[in-house]
Amino acid sequence: MSKKSKKDATTEASVEAAVASQDVVNDTSDSVEVADKKSKKRRWRMSRRGFLVGLGITGVGAALGLKFGVPEGQLALAGMLDDAAAPSNVKGSPVAWFEVGTEGTTLYMPKVEMGQGVHTALKQIAAEELELPWDAIQVVSSPTTRGLADGFGTGGSSTVSSLFTPLRETAATMREMLKTKAAEKLSVDVADLKVEDGVVFAAADSSKKLSYAEIVSGVSEWDVPKKAPALKAQSDFKYVGKPMQRVDFKDKLTGKAMYGYDMRKEGMLYGAVARPESFQATMKSAEVGAAKSQAGVVDVVITEDFAGVVATSRAAAYKGVEVLNVVWDEHSGFSTADAMALCTVEDGSGLTVQREGNAPKALKADSAKVIQAEYRTPMAAHSHLEPQAALAHVQGDKLEAWVSTQAPFVVRDDLAEAMGFKKENVDVTATFLGGGFGRRLSGKVAIEAARLSQATGKPVHVGWNRTEEFKYGYLRPPTHNVLKATLNGSKIEAMEHQVASGDVAFPFFPEFLTKVFGADFGAWRGATNFYDGIENRRTLSQRVKLPFDTGWWRGLGLLANTFAQESFMDELANAAGVDALEFRLEHFAASEDGQRFRGVLTKAAEMADWGGSLPEGHAQGIACSTDVNTKVAQVAEVSIENGKIRVHKISCAMDCGLTINPDGAAAQAQGGIIMSLSSVFLEKVDIADSRIQINNFDSYPLITMRDAPEINVEMVDSGPEPFGVGEPPMGPTAAAVANAVFALTGQRLRELPLKLNA
């Protein structure tokens, strides 16, 4: 597994400093891509505002890349830890790039479209401030050589929240630059110009007008405004806050959209790679064997830790791999039970990640009355339906790759290191992704394709099969949560939450940083106690080192930690004899956060007619959570059918601040709830003899339409800024269902997947 995605902070910082210290820096790799090769006018400038501005004229338009502030890498990381929302701009280059041409405006972004609708949302934001007609701007994932460095990648529900203001400012700056240039060309004072639908015109005489394409034509130098341009008032928004249709659906539904698995190139070949049975196995030896004489096999590549086959078809490549003589030093003996035993909270162990008041003291003082419960979740697999895929083409010391990845720059760096190539010679383009969910953040499949391409000089596609996807990736780690609390009447006096979890984020950071962090912020995501009306709260995060790979998953620890905390809140409400909704409402302070929690809880309860009459044999459960500052509350309505839990309805209220696209946000909530329900009912990865025991969907079934409940989603807007929506809806579902099951049956189920006692 890659352990190096953040390793280049120092190098990047010094490059950035070099750029900043010079007024004009010619010929950066960023500008070459868009500039006319004959043009001498291309230049980079540093404006007073600290924007890095690249201007290049291609003959058909202008390109403008603006830097979103200059945060220090460490500061950005600290911010990410602080609010659990990763910034898009951990590294230092421009992160957006506009091109205005005769065909319209293109916004190049390093952010990828994996189903979450981010290209639509970014288009809404950019079109808004650029005053463009909806169809006149498109958002595309830019190749890495275009230079929009983004070491973080796409994830953490952070794209829209981190880019909202910077992208607006960038677009507004560009709009003002276009206006200024139009003023010159039209001989009209800039103050007398208006902009509508991509046309700049004189307010007094609308026949004096220029389209953006006409404005940029022939212009070689631009003036950057000295002060920040005015941003539109929220009441004037045409696109933001509206349920705009997704820009990618027509291509996706007609089969034109290209995903990593679909990429093809003239003369391409197919690759497959030898793999061991057990995790942690190392290659002892490998020999070509009969592989080279197999029909369709073009070449065999063997190094000290890699054996792969290139062939004219996927089937031939896999057959070739089967007859390689590879000897592995296999591991054995490790089982699910071992994983669970390792993943066990040791009382008081772990790093304190939240301390309000003095929970240990309060619990000790009232030790006879401590209520305690423990919860578990198993390993799970991401199960995005498009397995890992990459097409790579090595030509000399240059490499092009098209990859289904959430993090093209991480893949680029991984490729450069594995192949010994210069980074600027590696161009990675992120395709459409057939799901991401945190599983597409390593360069592994791209490296495999690149090694095989280098040997043959041909483009080589490597697409994993389902078994490879399940066995050779990384899993959601197992978790063990222990909660303790004391009640004073119907109020919680103190509460403590101890989390033991396998790694989530740590495998993707260098070892020294994990020591700095102390606790894996991915593992404790969602574990801190958000009931700010409780005086004494403590949360501890205990790192569990496991012998198999674990990592990112949609919502990170949110699903497991909220399942535990919100089930426990239900247990406490029962112990106090208070309605579960009332009990929650009473444990928030008169704070802004508390107000927002009350908002979503009240809304979800109202949607579900909480406490109203239900069909015979039905019951409701409620839960809430916070993630990336988005508050979510859900009410589940369940019954028991044929001895099994059936979920009939989920009512979900979500407060993500300003909602950019209400329909897109609702879709994310619906999808997150379904994905959670799949974990609630089905998903569990077993390990036996150091081998992952799932091979395909027959041993790892997912939820289907048959078990999908009615899902109602309502947004509770609460401010001028957007927060993430991709992961937060994963929070409350499991607890809401478990709490409903308790209300119905009296059985308190504390382990996922939920199984009724006989």
Binding site: K252, T254, A667, N696, A708
Partner: protein, 161 residues
């Protein structure tokens, strides 16, 4: 070997006639709308129509489809007199209800829905659930798929009328 796909004739190698239709479509003919998800006929991403019946192309040997009419998502939309693309009612309904997210499974969902509606253009909710519950959608678009399939049936009824 000759194959009829979306009413067009294709000639493919008859070297190994047991090879799955999926990879012939995708890798040999460049018809990549049909997706790979599991290779075991479970997830439904690779669903195509063969003589109007939904088949899992990842486990359908080539020899089984010789001389039959194969339909994939590439064959859903048509062209009008002026050469513009006209979406199939199933595609229209899936766009109207903004169904997909990543959309990797959507070709299979649409081809499965099409077979259902062609047999029964007024399916009940239960019939839709029965027909569609063998197709996975990891993004969790089931609620919208259900609505869109009902809508597609209505659109197709109107078209027939």
């Amino acid at each position: 070997m000759n194959l009829t796909i979306n009413q067009q004739d294709f000639s493919v190698s008859d070297e190994d006639t047991t090879r799955p239709l999926l990879w012939v479509l995708r890798d040999e003919l460049g018809l990549s709308a049909t997706k790979f998800g599991c290779g075991a006929g479970i997830c439904g991403s690779c669903s195509v129509q063969v003589d109007g019946v939904t088949m899992r192309s990842c486990v359908t040997p080539l020899v089984a489809v010789e001389g039959k009419s194969i339909r994939t998502v590439e064959g859903l939309a048509t062209e009008n007199e002026v050469g513009e693309e006209v979406l199939h009612p199933v595609q229209e309904a899936f766009i109207k209800h903004q169904v997909p997210q990543c959309a990797w499974c959507m070709s299979g969902q649409m081809m499965t829905a099409l077979s259902l509606i062609e047999k029964n253009n007024d399916p009940s909710e239960e019939e839709i659930v029965n027909a569609m519950s063998n197709n996975y959608c990891r993004c969790g678009c089931y609620v919208r798929i259900k609505t869109a399939v009902k809508e597609a049936a209505t659109l197709m009824q109107e078209q027939e009328a």
